[in-house]
Subunit: 281 residues, 2 copies
DNA sequence: TATGTATTGGAATTATTATTTCATATTGAC
DNA sequence: GTCAATATGAAATAATAATTCCAATACATA
């Protein structure tokens, strides 16, 4: 028999979702209950679970068998394993990660190091983010006709994600790429009715700074994401955010910057939807 | 009787620690085991736990009774409740944040949501990453003459960061961009001596899949980062990673993918340096 | 509508597991 | 060293829980 039994929760979940349509009524009922209340499956007895889900214990067993398990008990193992793996608290794990990464034990340690750096950065930013700045930045950007997105090198991935997200939200935007010498002209099109998101970290890419200066001289408001108050970007910006990313193996995390970037993007999307409603309503 | 039975894990833990000195030998043994392996207590049977701890089942029951429980079963409830709460905290927090953001509770909630999604994703991946796959992927990539990086749309920011990092590490690489119809030719240059990092998540960009297929038919080994075993990328890949990113407000986090991408990149850098040393030394 | 097939409910059966019991061992006080 | 009190081991027993079975029902097909 090539019947492949799901051994981890995610596979199991996918399998259930996949077959959902073809399941008999009562089996589907217990399937839905299982995905909605995985903890109950992990700890309950066949009888108690069946009762909560409104079916007979035998149905529960048939459900398990239909998925390839030989009974309820082995299905339950998967749900228990899931809980087991989520066990240790976040801080404990982070601490363990740091220790392991420091001890330099193979490639897993490298990975752990990046995870730890990302987590640290996220922690930091959620502590230090200035809410008023966030509101200001979003208001400013929401009013813009076109949002220009300006970033090079290390910050470029963030810019490209912003551009992608703005596009999906149907917000007009222009990514200022460094393909040719066309940037200067592109920047020249911006007017005070537009706005810029500029991202740059030390060592600041000279092109980014130059373009930011030039665009701000045209009276275009800038929202900057950068790493210190000494950053040249901070001087040109109407609103700026200080984001401290932890680094590992010479590369800084992008996770905090990404989170902020997405909050700005989605925030602008929401603000536009709201004010659109208000204007129309 | 004013015998106060600990109802939550922390109280229980404190109680045990408090009485540690005065407990009989075997009871102390099971007490230590319980605090060291709380998960085993939560999921095991009296017999299996007793065996692991090196005592008789009856001792386990006596231990429970000494703490004021009326048997092993009620002691076990406390250990199960602990897991239940731990587990729900993250998912529930994310869920709560989503609800809060939906209800239009300010932009800070959106930001918090993205931070939580990123944290959750990092949490997940550091739990589920397969170390052997990581080693395989790094070995494979370290041997490549040129590393091609293939990703579109949502995954593109990751690809661009990989390309940036590879460049800084002086590792020859080629980002397959979608600027023009040149991709097909670019892909055509790859040989079995090269390698590909391909990244794609559901809904898989057709271009990515097509290019991955064609490049794998040329015998170029592929390392894929994708989101499920059903992904078409998984079929073409020599090594593939399953990364589950949490989403918020319709946008998935990239943090886990980024961490993995950086680990691959830096891992390849280290491996090359090492084997370079060996060759020269 | 008739007929075979798949699904379901509920009780009987089997299994697993917790608990109790009792014989034995250990410990500490005198 | 002896005695009493306490602790422990091992197996018997009780309890709980999973599974199976069969009759009843719903469902689809001709």
């Amino acid at each position: 028999m090539d019947e492949r039994v799901p051994r981890d929760f995610e596979t199991l979940r996918a399998t259930i979702l996949d077959r959902r349509e073809s399941l008999p009524k009562r089996i589907a009922q217990i399937a839905a209950y299982a995905l909605d209340n995985p903890d109950d499956i992990a700890f309950g007895t066949a009888a108690s679970i069946a009762a909560s889900a409104g079916v007979q214990p035998s149905t529960l067993i048939r459900f398990a068998q239909q998925l390839g398990f030989d009974g309820f008990t082995s299905l339950q193992q998967v749900f228990r394993e899931r809980l087991r793996e989520r066990n240790s608290s976040y801080d404990e794990r982070l601490q363990a990660l740091r220790a392991k990464a420091d001890s330099g034990a193979g490639h897993r340690a490298i990975f752990d190091g990046f995870v730890a750096a990302a987590s640290t950065s996220l922690n930091d930013i959620s502590r230090t983010l200035d809410e008023a700045h966030l509101e200001d930045a979003i208001s400013l950007l929401a009013k813009a006709e076109t949002i220009y997105v300006l970033a090079k090198r290390r910050s470029y991935p963030v810019a490209s994600y912003i551009a992608y997200a703005l596009g999906k939200l149907k917000i007009r935007n222009q990514l200022i790429e460094s393909a040719a010498g066309l940037n200067a002209e592109m920047v020249g099109f911006a007017t005070p009715a537009d706005a810029v998101i500029a991202i740059s970290f030390s060592p600041y890419a000279p092109a980014t700074i130059e373009e930011a200066r030039s665009i701000s001289e045209q009276g275009v408001p800038i929202v900057a994401i950068t790493d210190s108050s000494f950053s040249p970007l901070a001087q040109f910006a109407k609103v700026w955010f200080e984001v401290a990313e932890a680094d590992f193996a010479g590369f800084r995390s992008l996770s905090a910057t990404m989170a902020l970037a997405m909050a700005l993007t989605v925030g602008v999307g929401e603000k536009r939807r709201d004010s659109g409603k208000r204007r129309r309503g």
